[in-house]
C-alpha cells in the first residue's frame, strides 16, 4: 500500500527535520538519514552540531588534502573544524547530552510505540553490536525526532502500539517524520498527533499503515 504513495524522499525527510532547528540550537544528528539534516539547515539560523565522541561545532567533510585522522564525528567519518569548534572528553561530551544541554537530536528508528518508546539498537536476527550513544542521547537530549520509513521492508507498521524489539529508551520520542507523515506531541504526557501528510498520502492510508493510536490535527 505504501508503495502506491509517492511520499517523501530521504532528503525531503531530512529537510522536514531541519525545519525543527531553531536559531542558537545545539543539536546532535545520528548516523544515516539524520546526517543529511545538516545539508538543509536554513542559512539564516545558527546551529552548532555536537558529536558524542567529544567534538562540538562540526564542520563539513574535508577536502582530500585536509583529511585529519584525529578529526572524526561519532559516525567515524573524517570532518573539519569551524571557528567555534571545541573538543572535550567523552565524559564531558555526555555531560552535555545527559545534562539536557543539547536541544535536539535526530535519530533513526526500527520501531516507535504510541507512548514514545523507541527501539533502534538491536537488529532482529543479527549480532548485537551495542547501543553506542543512542541510549544516552534519547535519555538526555531535550527533544527527540525520529526519521524512519513508515513501514518496514516487509510492510509492517513501525509506529506501533508497543515496541516488539528491545528498547533504546522509554517515552523518549517527541516527533516522528516518516516518508509518509509527520506525528508530533506537545509533551511526553500527551498522545501523538498526525500533523502532516506526504505527497499522495491520505488520512486513510496512514491509518491503515499505522498500528499506534494517534490523534489527527492536520493543518
Amino acid at each position: 500500500m505504501s508503495n502506491q504513495i509517492t511520499g517523501w524522499t530521504r532528503d525531503q525527510m531530512a529537510a522536514r527535520a531541519a525545519a525543527e532547528l531553531h536559531d542558537g540550537y545545539y543539536a546532535n544528528l545520528g548516523i544515516g538519514i539524520p546526517t543529511l539534516v545538516a545539508n538543509h539547515i536554513a542559512p539564516d539560523i545558527d546551529i552548532t552540531l555536537q558529536s558524542e565522541n567529544g567534538m562540538l561545532g562540526l564542520g563539513p567533510f574535508p577536502d582530500e588534502i585536509d583529511v585529519d585522522a584525529d578529526i572524526i564525528n561519532a559516525g567515524k567519518q573524517t570532518i573539519t573544524e569551524l571557528p567555534r569548534t571545541s573538543y572535550c572528553s567523552s565524559a564531558d561530551s555526555f555531560g552535555m547530552i545527559r545534562g539536557g544541554h543539547i536541544q535536539l537530536s535526530v535519530l533513526g528508528a526500527m520501531e516507535v510505540a504510541e507512548n514514545g518508546d523507541l527501539a533502534n539498537w538491536m537488529v532482529p536476527g543479527k549480532m548485537v553490536k551495542g547501543p553506542g550513544g543512542a541510549m544516552d542521547l534519547v535519555a538526555g537530549v531535550k527533544r527527540i525526532i525520529v526519521l524512519m520509513d513508515h513501514v518496514s521492508k516487509n510492510g509492517t507498521p513501525k509506529f506501533r502500539k508497543s515496541c516488539t524489539l528491545p528498547l533504546t529508551g522509554t517515552n523518549v520520542v517527541d516527533m516522528i517524520i516518516s516518508n509518509l507523515a509527520v506525528f508530533e506531541r506537545p509533551d511526553r504526557q500527551s498522545p501523538f498527533v498526525l500533523r502532516e501528510l506526504a505527497p499522495g498520502a491520505t488520512r486513510e492510508a496512514i491509518a491503515a499503515l499505522t498500528e499506534a493510536h494517534y490523534l489527527e490535527e492536520l493543518s
Partner: protein, 237 residues
C-alpha cells in the same frame, strides 16, 4: 627529578601483566587508540584479559589484534560492530560482552578514577541494559545505578607528554583517553611527542601527571581512518 619515561612499550608494561587482568584502553573507533602499547600486549601474550574500551577495533587493528590472538575473555564496551572475528568468537561462546551505553561507560570510568563507586543515570532505564540493576526515583523520575570501573592497568594515547606524566590529547583523539587515564591502578601513556619539563603550559594540560605512572614515545602512529569522507562525496550526496 624522577622521570616516568620508559625506553619502550615492553619495558613500560614490564611487571604489570598477568593472565586474567583488566585493562582499560582509550580511543573511539580507531581514533586515539594506544597502538604501540596494544602491539606490546600482543607480543606479551597476556591471556584472559577483561578489556574496557568503547569499541573493539577492527579485525586487524586496535583491540582487534588482541581478539585475533584470543587474548581477550571479556569486553566492556558500548559498540563492537566493526569486528568480524569478535562476532565469530562471541557466537561461539568464547568471548563475553558487557554492553554499557557510551555515556554511561565514559562516566563509569571517570567515576572509578574519582573514587565514586556508583551514580544514578536516566540512560538505559526500562531497557535490557538496566535489568537487574538497582533503581532510585528522584523527583518522580526513575534512574538506574551504574558502577564505577577501576582496572589493573590503563593504556592511553596522548599527543604530547612531559617527563612528569602530564598529557595533552589532540582533537577528537581525546575521546575516552582522559577517563581511561584515571581509572587504571597503573596508567601507561604513549605519546606522539615527548617534550621537556616545563614545555606544557600548566593551563593547557588535559591529564595531570598524578594519573600517569609510565610514559613512552609512541612508535606506532598509523592512525588508520575507518571512514574516509571528503567534501567531493558530500557534494555528490
Amino acid at each position: 627529578m624522577a622521570s616516568k619515561i620508559y625506553p619502550d612499550a615492553a619495558s613500560a608494561l614490564d611487571g604489570l601483566l598477568f593472565n586474567g587482568m583488566s585493562i582499560a584502553a582509550g580511543g573511539f573507533g580507531l581514533c586515539g587508540i594506544p597502538e604501540t602499547l596494544i602491539d606490546a600486549l600482543v607480543a606479551a601474550g597476556t591471556k584472559d584479559i577483561t578489556a574496557v574500551s568503547n569499541n573493539a577495533g577492527v579485525d586487524d587493528f586496535g583491540l582487534g589484534k588482541l581478539l585475533d590472538r584470543r587474548q581477550i575473555r571479556k569486553m566492556i564496551s558500548s559498540y563492537v560492530g566493526e569486528n568480524k572475528e569478535f562476532e565469530r568468537q562471541f557466537l561461539a561462546g568464547e568471548l563475553e560482552i558487557e554492553f554499557s551505553p557510551q555515556g554511561t561507560l565514559a562516566e563509569r570510568m571517570r567515576a572509578g578514577g574519582a573514587g565514586i563507586p556508583g551514580f544514578y543515570t536516566r540512560t538505559g532505564v526500562g531497557t535490557a541494559l538496566a535489568e537487574g540493576k538497582p533503581t532510585m526515583d528522584f523527583e518522580g523520575e526513575t534512574f538506574v545505578l551504574e558502577r564505577g570501573i577501576v582496572t589493573d592497568i590503563a593504556i592511553v594515547k596522548a599527543w604530547k607528554a612531559d617527563p612528569f606524566g602530564n598529557l595533552m590529547f589532540r582533537k577528537s583523539a581525546r575521546n575516552f583517553n582522559p577517563m581511561v587515564a584515571t581509572c587504571g591502578r597503573i596508567t601507561i601513556a604513549e605519546a606522539e611527542e615527548i617534550v621537556s619539563p616545563g614545555e606544557l603550559e600548566p593551563d593547557l594540560i588535559h591529564t595531570p601527571s598524578v594519573f600517569v605512572q609510565r610514559v613512552i614515545l609512541a612508535t606506532c602512529n598509523e592512525k588508520r581512518i575507518e571512514k574516509m569522507t571528503v567534501s567531493d562525496r558530500e557534494t555528490l550526496s
